[in-house]
Symmetry: C2
Amino acid sequence: METNEKRGVRLSRQRETILTELCKVKTHPTADEVYEMVRKIMPRISLGTVYRNLDFLSNQGVVLRLGGAGTQKRFDGNPVPHPHLRCSVCGRVEDVEYPLSLPELPDGETMGYTDLRCDVEFVGVCPQCARKKM
Amino acid sequence: METNEKRGVRLSRQRETILTELCKVKTHPTADEVYEMVRKIMPRISLGTVYRNLDFLSNQGVVLRLGGAGTQKRFDGNPVPHPHLRCSVCGRVEDVEYPLSLPELPDGETMGYTDLRCDVEFVGVCPQCARKKM
DNA sequence: CTGCGTGCAAATGGTTTGCATCCAC
DNA sequence: GTGGATGCAAACCATTTGCACGCAG
């Protein structure tokens, strides 16, 4: 299997820390937020390194890169696809706390696409932003 | 109702053309691609205007802005939410040609979010890219 | 030792914006 | 005539990249 976490890949202190910190939080931070988190532990780390590692980790399937509606990409320490809630005002993203099955495309109906994964995102206004608006 | 197309809004030649051209194609073009399309008809239009109008039109609910996994945003002339297929290699986006119901969140389970809309995107490799890869 | 990973800073690329002018109403 | 819309170009901001050095294996 390819999806194992630590295989032949080199595990630098920065890569390890980034992964650890990302898994620690339940929010779905942007690269910038991850940078800030890791910087508290490892002040000399660079933003570029954070980007490179988030990229690397999501390609390995260890974390999830959330495409989503916002400008910035967000990252999820849980690599198993699951539905998210996104606030269209502040951009916050959280997990849906309700068991919901993902839609599936029958094999003959993929229009020739392969390696399909399903992203589900509910977009709306979060309670905090709804309160502020009025 | 607020979602009516032409209400008190001013309808400039450029806005009209952008909307018409976007509705004409079945692809889901990026702002840049819309710019190219419209430029064939209206050579002096500026990219900024295209962005401003796509923004305006999607806020009005006349077109759909696709958040999606890629870098650039894409736009859909059909404002009714429906599942999409995205190629993770070339970024192309198309409609799923198969009736699929969108997941729904029960009223009590929205975690306080309001005005919810559901985005479903299947991400995979399109036939063209799959062919090239090997 | 060797080369992958890093820090730094500059480059990129999509998108936004300020401003004077234009035109739909 | 008047304010919203446009064209143009500069500004922004997230992300990427080149390069020389550092450290994990």
